[in-house]
């Protein structure tokens, strides 16, 4: 479904250039959830944005990307934009503060010239567990969890096959996170969606995905199945350290931490 081969992303030129993604390759089968894990600055979000084609102009992208037999060129086709949608981390920053939920949800439908927009909006809200009364509210009038549900509804409205999830729950309380993760799992089952999930939280990735890549300094350190992650059978010291750290505070383990540069 998704095939990335030798992806490189460089920001800027000459002395000030920054090599954000180095030779990243990954494959995601249809109906799979694939996790991209790493600390801040590891390039995980940049991979996602490069795939979606929403990187800033100054970024130089090279490598081959294929999504559902469509080779991606510099500009994404209209059909790609309909079939691949994205949910962002911050439900405060990613919804227009002066647009009602109705406007937010109908805009992608209008852009893609879909029919029966009103029905689609109501249906999308229903699918994310919000009733029709939310249509005429503004983002500031609803909670963070409800806002993230609206973001998911906006992604669903074009009938996508792939949803790119960029830290979809890291701004939410844990009880709300559980609800949103359950929602994403249910939608995936019902619609046969394919996910790429970017997260710094190993437990979230282990819960949602079948396989994952660990990224560090722009490169993929290791790609493995979640089963292998659970069995602690990773061979790379960086992954092992990340795993130890995600288990909580352990004074003696911390002294053994290394700097990976």
């Amino acid at each position: 479904m998704i095939d990335i081969e030798g992806l490189d992303v460089v920001f800027g030129h000459g002395k000030n250039s920054f090599h954000a993604v180095r030779d990243v390759s990954l494959r995601v089968e249809k109906g799979q959830s694939f996790g991209l894990v790493g600390e801040s600055g590891s390039g995980k979000t940049t991979v996602l944005r490069a795939l979606a084609g929403i990187l800033e102009r100054v970024a130089r992208v090279s490598g081959d990307m294929t999504v559902a037999e469509e080779t991606l060129l510099r500009h994404r086709s209209q059909s790609f934009r309909r079939r691949v949608q994205m949910v962002f981390q911050d439900p405060f920053g990613s919804l227009h503060p002066r647009h009602t939920v109705d406007t937010i949800l109908s805009e992608p439908a209008r852009v893609h010239k879909l029919d029966r927009i009103e029905q689609r909006v109501v249906h999308a809200l229903e699918e994310v567990g919000l009733d029709a009364s939310f249509r005429f509210r503004y983002p500031h009038q609803i909670s963070g969890g409800q806002r993230q549900r609206v973001s998911v509804a906006r992604a669903l409205i074009t009938g996508p096959e792939i949803i790119l999830l960029d830290e979809p729950t890291s701004a939410l309380d844990v009880s709300v996170q559980a609800e949103v993760l359950n929602l994403l799992m249910r939608l995936k089952r019902e619609h046969g969606l394919t996910y790429i999930l970017v997260s710094h939280n190993l437990a979230v990735v282990a819960h949602m995905c079948e396989s994952l890549s660990v990224m560090q300094n722009g490169s993929v350190v290791e790609t493995m199945s979640v089963q292998q992650l659970r069995e602690h059978s990773s061979t790379m010291p960086y992954t092992q350290q990340l795993l130890t750290a995600s288990l909580g505070y352990d004074r003696t383990a911390i002294d053994a931490f290394e700097e990976f540069a």
């Binding site: 600390e39 801040s40 963070g144 309380d173 844990v174 009880s175 996170q177 559980a178 609800e179 993760l181 359950n182 799992m185 710094h200 939280n201 190993l202 437990a203 979230v204 282990a206 819960h207 949602m208 992650l229 659970r230 350290q241 990340l242 795993l243 750290a245 995600s246 288990l247 909580g248 505070y249 352990d250 004074r251 911390i254 002294d255 931490f257």
Partner: protein, 285 residues
Amino acid sequence: MSDSKLLIVEDLHVTYNTPTGLVRAVSGVSFELGHEKLGIVGESGSGKSQTGRAILGLTATGGTVGARRLAFKGTNLLNASERTMRQVRGSGISMIMQDPKYSLNPVMTVGSQIEEALLIHNRTSKRVARERTYEMLRAVKIREPERVYKAYPHEVSGGMGQRIMIAMMMIPEPAIIIADEPTSALDVTVQLQVLAVLDDMISERGMGLIFISHDLNLIASFCDRILIMYDGRVVEECTAAELEQAQHPYTRGLVNCLPRLDGGQDELPVLKRDPSWLTTPGATR
């Protein structure tokens, strides 16, 4: 009052008068702090940060703080003058905030900010202050204290910024540190390294720590004792080791709704909020 209790909080209330009515941010929180690491955990809006701020008299304008008792080593903090509070803040109780990007002064060098914290509370010469600052920077595991001393906050990383905050808060040698989400903005490995620095200093100096966080796993593994807050109240108090056997349905709900590394891909149990949690009295001790 026994000597081992550094802080006594009894029936603390914080209310805000807003145009839409009275908002009770904290209603009836009681606890004692000894030489230990006490965690306060709760979701956003549970009143955990408001509790920390009220202790230091940092409640925002418009807020009213009331309590049966709020005492730091026998000093009543409740109706204390600003003069007394200035004495307490820093040298008695100090606070580490969440994000070093916003809580360090961007136009002062790191060194002069740390020195300032010392010079306000102690009469020492500039030279001694500088020596102590170097010492402190080394204590928080900063490898090149001379370079960092001259640096501005934007020139250091997030993890280092937070260590600088710890150095600044520790230098007046307070008895209590209140840390409000001190490492939530950091990567997980850096987070643990910063906590290890804090942990070592607290046990070496025999201080008390109030650690405020939303991260249940972190609090359970880092602290000795935990207060679980919901809607301005403490619904349960337990030792960190007992968290898995917690009794209150809210605590159990919080523990269960976390995705687990070793768990399956089944539905996560969702927290069902019970209105009775809002009315039953707080945890009994």
